[in-house]
């Protein structure tokens, strides 16, 4: 199954290509969402559409965020049943085929670890992410 490989800081992650609509450059500013948790960057507009964007690093609480902003952050747009969700990431590296996902690090958000060539990649769970995102919006 083909996956989109991207980085959060130096760690590599993967999401199934099926679930990804497109990758766009992160906007310069967002519209803030009231009552939302810190992981919620806000909403961006994309060709007239209003798309909520979440800082994936904060959502996963998996990496220490560096002080320096990445040179060209990207938003990975997930398509979920007639709606979209944007995930802010450090950089998108490409598309790779991932067949075997090992059980390591498995959690609500993580399906497990896979190897792509010499590197190890954390494969994320789309449904789990969606649920976690919903929780960070309904804070109030």
């Amino acid at each position: 199954m083909r996956h989109v490989i991207f980085r959060l800081e130096r760690d590599r992650y993967a999401l199934p290509l099926d679930a990804v609509r497109e990758v766009v450059n992160a906007p310069l500013s967002y519209t803030r969402v009231p009552h939302a948790r810190a992981a919620v960057k806000g909403v961006m507009t994309l060709r007239g559409r209003v798309v909520p964007v979440v800082d994936l690093a904060l959502l996963l609480a998996a990496v220490t965020v560096s002080e320096r902003p990445p040179p060209s952050p990207k938003v990975v747009l997930l398509e979920l049943a007639r709606r979209e969700l944007g995930l802010l990431v450090t950089e998108v590296e490409g598309i790779e085929s991932i067949e075997k996902v090992g059980p390591q690090n498995r959690s609500r958000l993580v399906r497990g670890l896979a190897r792509v060539g010499p590197v190890s990649v954390t494969v994320l769970d789309v449904e789990g992410l969606d649920a976690a995102v919903a929780a960070s919006f309904a804070n109030g």
């Binding site: 500013s29 519209t31 803030r32 009231p34 009552h35 909403v43 507009t45 919006f137 309904a138």
Partner: protein
């Protein structure tokens, strides 16, 4: 079937014979409630059929129509006698009674009673007893109700419909027979409609390019349909596609061939086509986005040199006009008659009345008035609830009504009127009315009001207390509607579509609920306010006014800052705190705008950093996860491309106010 001769000399015979048939029908029906056999239903059917034929001969159109509807119902029941349950029997009895009324009127030379509502009810029931369907539970609307054309009541779920296009091989010796064979094979899978060209042409082998099309209504899967066709030699399946269900063709045993000749344009009835409701939503989204894109182009034009700008603006103006026109057309396509909701109410009213031991006459008017589909969908439950409420809590039991000198049968009127750009929907009963003092007392008891505030509360507002969550004036809690909970939901639903709810009530005389609704939901007039770098939209309809003052000048009441607004004092809040967004530090002596808005819990003044002006915008609904965020009504995109949230002012302050109320 108007009578061509003087029918008066047959009148005596008509009256006596029709009466006999009706009497027999009624008696047999009541006997049937013990055990139903197809033969017995046949007999009912025959009586009804005889009355129809006699009324037709006499030229009594209204009577014929009523008898015809009754006959249709009985015919349907005949295919499945188990469906003759008490509900059906009741309606049949009503029809028998009404027909008796017609006969009496004919005898006395008086105008016939109006049976339109009853006919509608018979038809609805007939449709609901489609073979192979389970009895429908009483009226409730599915959340995603399909769009229904203006004609006729909503259909129960039909099997899917397929548009089948077939080609008969040109080498076939007898193409007509081949075509007919394929047609027959398809008919074994379900009902066939709209064979084009007509089946007689097909049989005669008159097939343009060797093809013909037919619509198949069948619950068989696609594979079975195509397999069935593949089993006919010399016939190929050109295409097979799902079509939206068309209006019902009553018991089409032998479908009529479509007219092969083009009709004169002037005589053609308005053509309709069914469209998925999601598609209409998408059209609206796209039209809205086109408007935004146009505004975006205009914005870009502002950066141009004066000379270039003129020509660009001219084009943008034209584009804007076109897009606006498109938007209007899309809105028009979404207009749906209120009858989609009200058609099912007579039946619901009867059920509720029977369960509660009330006698009710439901009078419907203006059901042809049209509203945006989204509003109609949202109103289905609230309107049903208002009806329930009127019957259950409004109209008294017959004995009580008699004691009060009222007719034992209560009247509930549901009227819909178009008033300029609004639609007024009223539900009026002639029941006991609401007890304003009792409402106030309850509100005080529950801590919703202070005794003082209750005393000063105008009647209009006091009546609205009945919509407060958990407040009920019903003397007994019933299974049908605890008034408080339901009314709260009604008010919320009405406001969610941009409407308002008003109640008038006279003790002992009745209560009227009046819903004032916008025709469409999509456009909303906003006051844009700035908060730091953020912009929010407040619906103008909810803004009572703006006061510019310093924070230092605010008075305090029980440690809560308050603002003088007109003759009243309203609590003042920082909008940034309400929304839990970082605010800008402010100087207490600097002048800030305070926007006074109407929330569900009264007026509140919201401190903002700046007023940015008014704008009419296209409101977009929020999708998950944004719909989970409290206090948001929708979102829009301004010409600059910035997304702006529209605040749900009515419910903005609820958590805070609830806490404040706890202190008092």
């Amino acid at each position: 079937m108007a009578a061509q001769w003087d029918t008066s000399r047959y009148l005596g015979l008509f009256v006596s014979e029709a009466t006999e048939h009706l009497d027999a029908l009624g008696k047999e029906l009541v006997r049937l409630e013990g055990g139903v056999t197809p033969e017995a239903i046949d007999s009912l059917f025959r009586h009804s059929h005889s009355v129809k034929g006699m009324a037709g001969s006499m030229g009594y159109e209204a009577t014929t129509a009523l008898a015809h509807s009754l006959e249709d119902l009985l015919d349907r029941v005949r295919t499945d006698p188990a469906r003759l349950d008490r509900a059906v029997a009741d309606v049949v009895l009503q029809a028998v009674d009404a027909l008796g009324g017609h006969v009496k009127a004919a005898n006395a030379g008086k105008p016939f009673p109006d049976s339109a509502a009853l006919i509608a009810q018979l038809k609805e029931l007939t449709h609901s007893i489609r073979p192979g369907t389970e009895p429908q539970p009483s009226a409730s609307t599915p959340a995603n109700a399909p769009l229904v054309e203006s004609e006729g009541p909503r259909e129960p779920e039909l099997p899917p419909r397929w548009l089948v296009t077939l080609r008969v091989a040109s080498t076939s010796a007898q193409p007509g027979v081949r075509g007919f064979l394929a047609y027959k094979r398809l008919s074994s899978l379900g009902n066939l409609f709209r064979c084009t060209p007509g089946i007689d042409e097909v049989k005669a082998g008159k097939l343009p390019n060797g093809t013909f099309t037919v619509e198949l209504e069948s619950s068989e899967p696609e594979a079975v349909v195509s397999k069935t066709v593949s089993q006919v030699a010399d016939v190929a399946l050109v295409s097979l596609s799902r079509v939206a269900s068309a209006p019902p063709v009553p018991s089409a045993e032998e479908p009529k061939p479509a007219e092969p000749e083009p009709r004169v344009v002037g005589q053609e009835p308005p053509r309709t086509v069914r469209v998925r409701t999601e598609l209409l939503d998408e059209f609206l989204d796209l039209a809205g986005e086109l408007m935004l894109a146009t505004a975006g182009v205009r914005e870009v034009g502002r950066t141009l040199e004066e000379t270039d700008r003129g020509r660009l603006n001219e084009t943008v103006d034209r584009l804007h006009g076109l897009v606006r026109g498109l938007h209007d057309k899309v809105m028009k396509a979404r207009m749906t008659p209120v009858s989609v909701i009200t058609d099912r109410l007579p039946r619901a009213a009867r059920d509720i009345a029977r369960r509660r031991g009330r006698e009710i006459e439901l009078v419907l008017s203006g059901s042809e008035v049209e509203l945006d589909r989204a509003i109609v969908d949202e109103l289905a439950d609230p309107v049903l609830h208002l009806l329930r409420n009127a019957i259950d809590h409004g109209v008294e039991p017959p004995e009580e009504r008699r004691m009060r000198g009222k007719p034992p049968r209560g009247t509930v009127k549901l009227s819909v009127k178009r008033a300029s750009d609004r639609v007024l929907l009223e539900v009026e009963d002639d029941g006991r009315g609401m007890d304003v003092e009792r409402l106030k007392a309850l509100a005080v008891e529950r801590g919703l009001l202070t005794a003082e505030a209750a005393r000063e509360l105008p009647e209009r507002e006091a009546l609205l207390l009945s919509t407060a969550p958990g407040l009920t004036t019903a003397t007994s809690v019933t299974d049908i509607s605890g008034r408080g909970v339901g009314m709260d939901a009604v008010k919320r639903a009405v406001e969610a579509v941009g409407g308002t709810l008003e109640i008038t009530s006279r003790r002992g005389l009745g209560t009227t609920f009046r819903l004032s609704l916008p025709l469409t939901v999509a456009m909303v007039n906003l006051l844009l306010v700035g908060l730091g770098d953020d912009v929010y939209g407040l619906p103008i309809a909810k803004v009572a006014g703006v006061v510019e003052t310093t924070r230092a000048s605010l008075a305090h009441s029980r440690d809560v800052p308050v603002l003088q607004f007109g003759s009243a004092v309203v609590p003042a809040r920082e909008l940034s705190q309400v929304l839990e967004v970082p605010g800008r530090p402010h100087d207490v002596d600097a002048v800030s705008p305070f926007v006074v808005v109407d929330t569900d819990d009264g007026r509140v003044a919201l401190a903002v950093d700046a007023l940015l002006g008014q704008e009419e915008v296209v409101l977009k609904a929020l999708r998950r996860p944004l719909d989970q965020v409290p206090g948001l009504a929708g979102v829009t995109v301004l010409g600059s491309g910035r997304a702006v949230f529209i605040l749900d002012v009515a419910r903005l302050e609820r958590p805070v106010r609830a806490a404040a109320a706890g202190e008092t």
